[in-house]
Subunit: 351 residues, 2 copies
């Protein structure tokens, strides 16, 4: 019988943040791809388009005019999935027909006045301003809401309907499913092992190096042992930090630097503006601000859809939707590919 080789032999890996398993079948990369190919991301966005509602000076759907902003800019989502005043569905509920009130706010935050720039091409000082705004948002919305989800959908492939660099913030009076899962898993881990899950994990990954993509004094980026998406990464502080506002000035500069390095590598992988959805998970807020939340560790997830090239994505479909998440290369292979890439952006080299 052959000895186990993760690149040749399918196996399951446990995701301790979601209490679930991923099927790793790396030998599947050998199959030829005859399915759908995506359009590569467009690369001719004008720097300024007066008809783009995210640009400085533009008129938005509700008739408001954007200021001539020169850094970040925040406004309320004109079509919010969460509104602050939705009435309660009531509480006479059969176990099979349960509903619950959902209240919240949705905001949009532009990263930069230019439509033709992205985070990896921005200056570290400009990225730092984005980070400061993120931290402010957690303070501001976290005072009222239980969960403040900051997320960026980048690229048309990830449902992003506007090329202007921006992210969204959806704050809610409830713990969303993924937050509730992360809450339970981290709480159980601390109780059982006496150390926060992701603090221990970052230390062990820094030591092993095998899945590290980039690192610096304060931060570490790995393709997690349990990654589902082909080039999924997890961004972790080395210090125990509960929420974005807790970061020191130095840690924020350091975060701007590591984000720029990670996202440059992503773009360099297939020499395109790399699509992904990313978001921050920190300790819950609202009434939880008064509780002991030391089982939490701040972290960001990056979920990019691409698998083989700029136009061939991983489809999470039949088996994944109905049975189990499955990946087609090992996390170690993905980490190695990303680690080997240069840190100069391919667009900078060409000019």
């Amino acid at each position: 019988k052959p000895t186990f080789d993760p690149k040749e032999h399918q196996h399951l890996r446990y995701n301790p943040l979601r209490d679930s398993w991923v099927l790793v079948s790396a030998h599947r990369m050998k199959r030829p791809w005859k399915g759908q190919v995506e359009k590569p991301p467009v690369d001719n966005t004008p720097r300024h388009d007066p008809n783009n509602p995210l640009c400085p000076g533009s008129v938005r759907a509700n008739g408001e005019v954007n200021p001539e902003y020169d850094s970040t800019f925040m406004f309320d989502n004109d079509f919010p999935a969460l509104q602050p005043d939705a009435p309660d569905p009531g509480s006479d509920h059969h176990p099979l027909f349960q509903s619950k009130a959902a209240r919240g706010v949705c905001k949009v935050m532009c990263f930069h006045p230019w439509s033709d720039i992205t985070l990896p091409l921005m200056q570290p000082a400009e990225i730092r301003k984005v980070i400061d705004k993120w931290a402010d948002l957690i303070v501001e919305l976290g005072a009222e809401y239980t969960w403040v989800q900051i997320f960026e959908n980048k690229g048309a492939m990830m449902g992003c309907s506007n090329p202007h660099p921006h992210c969204q913030v959806w704050a809610s009076n409830f713990l969303p499913n993924e937050a509730a899962l992360a809450e339970r898993c981290q709480r159980d881990f601390l109780q059982k092992h006496g150390e926060p899950l992701l603090v221990q994990y970052a230390r062990m990954e820094a030591q092993a190096q095998e899945r590290v993509v980039v690192e610096n004094e304060h931060w570490l980026v790995v393709v997690p042992y349990w990654a589902t998406w082909p080039f999924q990464t997890l961004l972790l502080p080395r210090r125990h930090v509960l929420r974005l506002p807790d970061l020191t000035a130095q840690e924020r500069d350091s975060l701007a630097s590591i984000m720029k390095r990670l996202l440059t590598k992503y773009d360099n992988l297939f020499e395109i503006s790399f699509p992904y959805s990313m978001g921050w998970h920190g300790a819950p807020t609202g009434s939880h601000l008064q509780e002991d939340m030391s089982h939490w560790q701040l972290h960001a997830h990056y979920y990019p859809p691409l698998l083989r090239s700029a136009t061939i994505r991983k489809f999470m479909v039949g088996y994944e939707m109905l049975a189990n998440e499955q990946r087609d290369l090992t996390p170690e292979q993905a980490a190695e590919q990303l680690r080997k890439l240069g840190e100069e952006h391919y667009k900078m080299k060409k000019t």
Copy 2:
């Protein structure tokens, strides 16, 4: 304060099969869509293509020649994610680096010798043959494996790489995440409420009618109260049935009929061959064949990606991946749209 209207006021609904919540924000359908549009499904597939490895008489990747089959045809997947003999990853595992052996088989099953036909256009007697094969597969593979996942990825949008009508079967020695969830939820429900979850649910939905799409003597199709995908449906027997092989001849004919009706409505919705991933969930097999599994009820899930038209899909991205599933119309609205559609296939009307 206005009274609660599910079409206007966001709220959460509980999914008792997955123990999670979905955010329903139906007022969001009002926002204009400026994001990515999909290519509509191609409609010029030749009936027979000697270079298509799924056609009768074709040569497959491994050099085998397909028989001149005239009904269903089954073969081993040439690039299986699960193989029967993968070695064990070993068992010295840190809680953060846990892996587990995964063994299984992957098969492909063609529904029909023609590449230009789909289930809704097949004769009920032909669909019945597919159902009989599905039942046989559960018997055959279920004798050895714990879980036999039958699923169909239909359409390029769902990662399907071959237009020839076919499904896949992945059998495994482990309970996949989704199966484990359905197992736990149904077990807890029976214990607590004295009746199998989906038996009770089907009875209540048949009575309410609000979410029913099609029904007959033996079967019921609803947009479940907790549906995540815009036009997601759940196909349920009225009788308590654990697994596909338990279906009587009459129930199988009746299933062929209701599948044809449902899939015709799906195609009629946007007048295209409607993309989806679907699959069967029945009681676990292997060693579980000897256990009391009466908390289970056989069912099929249909997960179609489209939202607004043949080319505008729902993107499950940032907020959905990082926080909570979210839908943009109520399940009742979706059910009504599907219910109102005719049961004659649009392609039949035109000729």
